[in-house]
């Protein structure tokens, strides 16, 4: 018979936190492609003033671009209007009418920077702490460190709303050199949410149960013969698999959600691609997942890579995501989950204050990749909300105050989960590896 006692409670393979964690779960809203910070979070009146002017040569020295031709590039102002929101007076553009209601919950970091100016290396750096494939993602590290608190769902789930696909594909939720049970599970938000979750058509639930009972009974007999400990794990995993088969469909069945909740997330919004409804659904599912004990959820939204048609495409993206993201924050708050749920919003880098004049472009309507300064925000899970950290220079080229490298962000996130980032290590190839490699400083100002 299937045992009902908590299997994962017995799982002692994970590490223990080094100190009391503030955050217990994380929802990472990954904005693939590099959202334009000066059109969303970091207003630059001076840039608007200098629209069409060349950039000071001193700033261009040694700088590399993906596509922009340095010599003839001109600064590009933003057509967006900004206002100050919340008690804290946080700047947000007119593209974020919903998020702006949460200014006092979030910590906006305008001084992010990194050292990768191509998508995949940048994304891998943000997700794994290195620009290379083969390394564990943040969600894998946290599950390795803390284990899952879900009895019947995976501890790490990834969901996608994809335009052009993800540059790293499955590397974006891979466990790298950590054991593969720390890998993210790709969920879809409809039908059968996990691969191979549904029984084959011919097999009724009753037959499935009888099958698993027989498998486990025969495995137990075998264990009695050969005492191979892997058999004991196999039995546990068939029990967990069986529970997942009912838990995962329950997860995506939204019939118990109120009409008000669905409306708040914007589940019924209709657009040509279906992305608005899909992303809203993912946001709601993220809440349902963390509610059920999943440790880490990543929602990928692709793509913010606006080399051209920036104004219209940015509006499309914010139309997809602004309302559900704000609703997620509100929903977590209403349910008392936000205190222990860290929400992270951001892409792999930002975009240039220069307009992109790639050869072959007739007009300049977009911005190139920009690793030297960009904006991200975090909320909940021990974050001190209602603050804007860091400043950039007048045209938004470089960071002026409180620079935060990706490694610092990682160190801070691990800190929120109760880990000293220098101590959470995994021995591999005779060395102890960590998420932050040899870098990273906890950003104290971000902590509540």
């Amino acid at each position: 018979m299937l045992r009902e006692d908590g299997l994962l409670a017995e799982d002692s393979s994970f590490q223990a936190p080094h100190f009391a964690p503030k955050a217990k779960r994380c929802i990472y809203l990954f904005m693939e492609g590099g959202p334009s910070q000066m059109d969303l979070f970091d207003p630059k009146p001076k840039l608007n003033e200098l629209d069409g002017q060349p950039m000071p040569e001193s700033l261009l020295e040694g700088v590399k671009f993906a596509f922009t031709q340095k010599e003839s590039a001109r600064l590009l102002g933003s057509p967006r209007t900004f206002q100050k929101y919340g008690q804290c007076g946080m700047d947000m553009s007119d593209l974020l009418p919903h998020l702006s209601n949460h200014a006092d919950d979030i910590a906006l970091v305008r001084s992010m920077y990194c050292d990768q100016f191509n998508h995949l290396p940048g994304q891998l750096l943000m997700l794994t702490g290195t620009p290379f494939r083969g390394w564990p993602t943040l969600g894998s590290w946290l599950n390795y460190g803390l284990g899952s608190t879900s009895r019947d769902l995976p501890g790490y789930v990834a969901m996608t709303t994809l335009g052009r696909g993800l540059p790293g594909g499955a590397a974006s939720w891979s466990s790298g050199f950590l054991p593969s049970n720390y890998s993210g599970a790709l969920f879809r938000n409809e039908g059968s949410p996990v691969l191979n979750l549904a029984n084959p058509d011919e097999i009724s639930p009753e037959m499935q149960k009888r099958t698993i009972d027989a498998v486990n009974e025969l495995n137990r007999q075998r264990y009695g013969e050969v005492a191979n400990p892997e058999i004991a794990s196999r039995i546990k995993n068939y029990e967990l698999a069986y529970r997942m088969q009912s838990a995962a469909p329950e997860l995506i069945d939204l019939s118990d959600e109120s009409a008000a909740t669905k409306e708040a997330y914007g589940l019924d919004r209709v657009d040509k691609t279906g992305f608005q409804a899909s992303y809203a659904r993912n946001c709601l599912l993220a809440r349902r997942l963390v509610e059920r004990g999943t440790r880490f959820v990543t929602l990928f939204l692709s793509t913010w890579d606006q080399h051209s048609k920036l104004d219209s495409e940015l509006a499309t993206n914010t139309k997809i995501s602004d309302q559900p993201v704000a609703a997620l924050l509100q929903d977590l708050k209403d349910r008392g989950l936000l205190d222990e749920t860290l929400v992270v919003w951001g892409g792999e880098f930002g975009r240039t204050p220069l307009g992109e004049n790639r050869s072959g472009f007739k007009t300049v309507t977009g911005r190139d990749h920009h690793p030297y300064s960009f904006s991200m925000w975090m909320a909940g899970g021990g974050i001190k909300g209602g603050q804007t950290l860091g400043t950039t220079d007048d045209i938004g080229w470089g960071v002026e105050e409180d620079p935060v490298h990706v490694h610092d962000l990682h160190a801070t996130i691990l800190h929120l989960f109760g880990f000293d980032h220098e101590e959470l290590t995994y021995r591999f190839q005779g060395r102890d590896f960590r998420l932050t490699d040899v870098h990273g400083k906890v950003v104290q100002k971000l902590l509540a």
Binding site: A66, N118, H119, L120, T130, P131, F132, R133, G134, W135, P154, T160, L162, G165, L166, P167, G168, G169, A170, A171, F177, P179, S180, N181, R188, L195, N196, L197, A198, P200, E202, I203, S204, M207, Q208, R210, T211, A214, E217, L218, N219, Q221, R222, V226, N228, E230, R234, N237, Y238, L240, A241, M244, Q245, D368, F428, Q429, G430, R431, D432, D437
Partner: protein, 620 residues
């Protein structure tokens, strides 16, 4: 569970620096130790056993009894071919065993070593080390429609028992051999398997240097068992390799370029067509088969090699030229190119290469290496459990003319290999090998044995990679999305032949720990997860196997459930069921019959039970 990380920018170690030099065991010359004298003379079927018994007897232990003949047959099939024996194989083996066990066993070993499937199984191990893939791996993940030509070269080489030194030299420097043959050029595809970033707007020189770093790292892992890439950015923290020495190795690989050549194929395969643009009205041109090879730059194209300060190519330091680390044997006078480097690897004085490969092969047959960190023979790796045995094997391997088949034969003929894997002393670790190890078969074999047991298996060896059906939500995550589903018998090919698209890895293989091929991997992880259970229960491929097998059982045995149970045990587990197992499975069948819509489905469900047993996917 250890994979080699090649592209490591900042290696670090939290351990204090250890003074290490040529005194470390792995850098000492390979000895030729005398075979020890042991008490249990009767168990010494090979010198291997004397080395193992010497340690066991010193601990007051002994080898376990030999495994039952049916189990030995299953073990040999799984280890040598990655497939299962048929009922006929089992009957013939049992009959032969009654007459003459040793002769029967020996004949079976020789038969399997000569099987074309042997090359597939052992090529798979090498392809992990060669980080083989069918696409570039980064953003564009451009397909490599001809990568399989190299894969088939590996299978052929293994099947022909090409001496390991030749096998290696051709992969590292086939193009530099005198009048290289087509096959020797194809071999250089080894160093075309690395990831390749072609993202628009990329720093091209950075991408190129990262490929060279990976080639050095992979070479270090495959033939030296060393984590040389740690020295890319600074002197190695614990092994005696300086950053300068890393770039001296790098210099051997810094003057190559990719070259796709037209080739003649030995067999008439249906060839992959390059993707056509929608409006392309041009007629299909005949596809010319190609191979991805590596060649040297001409002298006027030659690059100088500089140390990259902190591993950053844009900060060139001192200029260096090709050389090998001082802690290892001397490099001979004369030319310093890839060919002389490859020859240097196989020089008599090299303390590493022979040990490293013997250890790689040993771990596939015993479940764990004599050095349990096959990718780290350095001071932070684990020391060998049986150092004399490792040296004896390494010397014997060299003396046998680097024959992998002879080495494998030597191991499987030993009593150590043939002993039972039953864990009679659950608290006793098995480092000294008082029993065989049990381990789950690798990802590809999980698929392959399902196909064999069900009768669906297509045994074709080699050819272009295949695309078994996948749900769209899996294929959609990569950017170049095409997954041209294979039809007919190609759907039932071995896991080895599944198109390895790096951004869309075949989920079943990943679930069972197939490496992601980003870097060279000489030891796979071995996890045990609920996703594996879901896959075996519900993956359409595995359900189709259960259906096919169940239908046949039903057609053959009708209402005779016990006969059907006996049959399914033989096909899947290659043994007779115990009475308790018959009782449990009969009772399950009885219940399933109540809820199934017809008796055939009940039999399918019963077959599915057996195909989900831990034992089915375990090599005991």
């Amino acid at each position: 569970m250890l994979r080699f990380v090649s592209s490591l920018i900042f290696c670090f170690s939290i351990l204090p620096l250890v003074a290490s030099d040529s005194d470390h065991w792995a850098f000492r010359p390979i000895g030729n130790p005398p075979v020890p004298v042991v008490k249990s003379v009767g168990r010494v079927a090979s010198p291997i056993d004397a080395f193992v018994l010497a340690k066991l007897e010193a601990a007051g232990w002994n080898l376990s009894d030999s495994a039952a003949p049916q189990l030995l047959l299953r073990r040999l099939h799984l280890d040598l071919t990655g497939l299962l024996p048929t009922s006929e194989d089992i009957h013939a083996f049992e009959n032969g065993w009654k007459a003459d066990p040793k002769k029967t066993y020996t004949a079976k070993v020789d038969e399997l070593l000569a099987s074309p499937h042997f090359g597939e199984q052992w090529a798979r191990h090498w392809l992990d080390i060669a980080r083989y893939g069918d696409s570039d791996g980064y953003l564009g993940d451009t397909l490599r429609l001809w990568a399989w030509v190299y894969r088939d070269w590996v299978i052929d080489s293994v099947n022909q028992d090409q001496p390991y030194d030749q096998f290696s030299i051709e992969q590292l420097a086939g193009d530099l051999l005198p009048n290289p043959s087509q096959s020797q050029k194809i071999a250089t595809g080894f160093h075309r398997n690395n990831l390749k970033n072609t993202e628009a707007g990329l720093d091209k020189e950075l991408a190129r240097t990262k490929q060279v770093v990976d080639r050095v790292a992979t070479t270090g892992n495959a033939w030296l068992g060393l984590t040389v890439a740690c020295a890319e950015c600074h002197d190695h923290k614990h092994d005696p390799i300086s950053q300068r020495e890393f770039f001296e190795l790098y210099a051997f690989f810094n003057n190559t370029k990719d070259s796709d050549i037209s080739i003649k194929l030995a067999k008439d395969w249906p060839l992959p067509k390059p993707a056509k643009k929608k409006d392309d009205k041009k007629k299909d041109e005949p596809v010319v088969p190609k191979a991805q090879t590596l060649v040297s730059l001409s002298e006027k194209e030659f690059r100088k090699t500089h140390i990259h300060i902190r591993g950053d190519y844009s900060r060139p330091g001192e200029e260096v030229s090709s050389a090998t680390p001082a802690v290892l044997h001397e490099f001979p006078e004369g030319k310093r190119d890839r060919l002389s480097f490859a020859n240097w690897l196989f020089s008599e004085e090299n303390p590493l290469t022979s040990r490293v490969v013997v250890n790689q092969i040993w771990q596939q047959l015993l479940g764990s290496g004599i050095v349990s960190t096959p990718d780290d023979f350095g001071t932070h790796g684990n020391p060998p459990s049986h150092p004399e045995l490792l040296d004896w094997l390494a010397t014997d391997f060299r003396n046998s003319g680097w024959s992998r088949k002879k080495l494998i034969r030597q191991i499987v003929m030993s009593s150590t290999y043939q002993q039972s894997s039953v864990n009679r002393h659950p608290d006793r670790p098995n480092e000294l090998l008082w029993r065989q190890n049990s381990f789950r078969v690798n990802a590809e074999a999980v698929r392959d044995i399902h196909l064999v047991a069900s009768g669906l298996f297509t045994p074709t060896v080699g050819g272009p990679s295949v695309y078994p059906p996948l749900p769209e939500f899996v294929t959609a995550v990569g950017r170049s999305v095409k997954w041209p589903e294979s039809k007919g018998p190609n759907r039932y090919r071995r896991g080895l032949y599944i198109f390895l698209k790096r951004t869309v890895m075949y989920p079943m293989l990943t679930t069972f720990d197939a490496p992601d091929t980003s870097v060279s991997c000489s030891r796979r992880e071995m996890t045990n997860t609920p996703m594996q259970a879901l896959t075996l229960l519900n993956d359409p491929v595995f359900f189709e196997c259960a259906e096919t097998l169940g239908r046949e059982l039903h057609a053959t045995h009708q209402d005779n459930v016990e006969a059907a149970i006996e049959d399914v045990f033989q096909r899947c587990l290659n043994r007779e069921p115990f009475p308790g197992e018959v009782a449990t499975l009969s009772s399950a069948h009885h219940d399933l019959l109540q809820s199934a819509k017809d008796p055939e489905l009940a039999m399918i469900a019963t077959a599915r039970v057996v195909m989900n047993l831990d034992e089915f996917i375990t090599r005991d």
